[in-house]
Symmetry: D2
Subunit: 141 residues, 4 copies
């Protein structure tokens, strides 16, 4: 576990497979966004938030509004990555995450991601329901 | 254009990008199925069949039921591929395709693919509407 | 764990994320080939075979030669899949796998996959080294 | 062609296929980074820069160092996108791009991307060769 990692961040282990790499021998840059999405999803699941149920019962989806990513070191085939996730800000309809990819104590990639709660039919931003919001408040760093 | 290609097959040109390759330096084996799906879709579009309209107006989707693929030679970054597609059999609810990937006159990959028309709500096989079927009949090899 | 599953098959659990699904609401057909590759890789790793080391120390890669896949039922977002893998035949340079995807006791997808050991430089089939082959023999069903 | 588009930006047309979409019915957020990479690659190719040759003859790769992306509107299955690319800054070892995705006159996604020229063996930043740099200077907005 990386020493610089925040104590109260959530962590997910992800293995690098052939599908994740490219002919440069490293993980293709878009694929970190897959890893970050997996990590947010698993964290929400641990908190009791199931996004496919949320889509069906409340017609609410989380969609990504903004992603700022910096690539520090490449990851390679068979590497075991740790994805660290924190909530840095919570709005009425938005959640701001800081997410980082590590390989052992090597910091590979850092990202700041804004996710917005939208109505599944109109795709317009909509207030998170109070129950959802209170769960996220407690998970906030 | 490969000389062995069927005269009346449909052809789509596809460039190999980093996203398609893996750390072995070649196109990742699952990605040929993406190429074949693009080629079927573009061919259907040329025939006047738009699958997203079809999903909305007729609640019918094409889903893949079976894929048999043989990999003959690897494709590499920047290769320009030709995807050749033919209909080999037409059932009441199914379409059988033969699809091949070529790089110039090198045969990279051959595939036989069965696609089934399903009801978008139940995901069960359903008869293609007569208009759709007659278009596919005319496109058959 | 599916009741029909072979006792001595290897199993890997895989969660379905947004990245795996498509606008039809189901897992995109090519993505099962990613799941199968992950399952083969993890199984080989359990047996002590690390493919990225194998590429570097012995200049040998496994490449997929043939895949026959049948899609029985669709998987959806958040489903937890079990990928079952067995070796059905072992040649001098090839390994034949049977791989199946299950969601609880629902059989989603069955596949028969031939993998060939190639020289990393020439990409031509080459005999597996005796140590590798004896490990695979013991893992065979 | 979007009216707001820069006159001297490069443009690539990209069709949205099932592989690009997710169960939310829209293009998965990571996939815009694939589209942007395709657009940069095709633009470089038009300028006479072939990245796979560059990797082999000069042992130089372009790797992405930073990506800031804002998602404005979702793209959907069958949409035809225009990817607009401009060079906004040129350093000794880096190229800064502004890239935008449009669907007709709807601005879907805007991105600012920093690409670094690295030595293929060490993966460390290295000065672009003078020929490459002069080509990019002329292409700059």
């Amino acid at each position: 576990m990386p020493t610089e990692m925040s104590q109260n961040a959530n962590a997910l282990q992800i293995r690098v497979y052939y599908e994740d790499t490219d002919a440069g021998g490293i993980v293709f840059y878009a694929n970190y966004l897959k890893f970050f999405e997996r990590a947010r999803t698993e964290w929400l699941r641990q908190l009791g938030i199931n996004q496919s149920q949320m889509a069906q019962t409340e017609q609410q989806l989380f969609v990504v509004k903004q992603v700022d990513t910096e690539y520090l070191h490449p990851a390679r085939l068979d590497d075991m990555l740790t994805i660290q996730s924190r909530i840095t800000h919570l709005g009425g309809a938005s959640v701001h995450f800081a997410q980082d990819a590590w390989c052992q104590d090597r910091h590979l990639c850092k990202s700041s991601i804004v996710v917005v709660c939208v109505d599944a039919n109109t795709m317009r931003a909509t207030k998170m329901n109070p129950h959802l919001r209170s769960i996220l408040e407690q998970a906030q760093d």
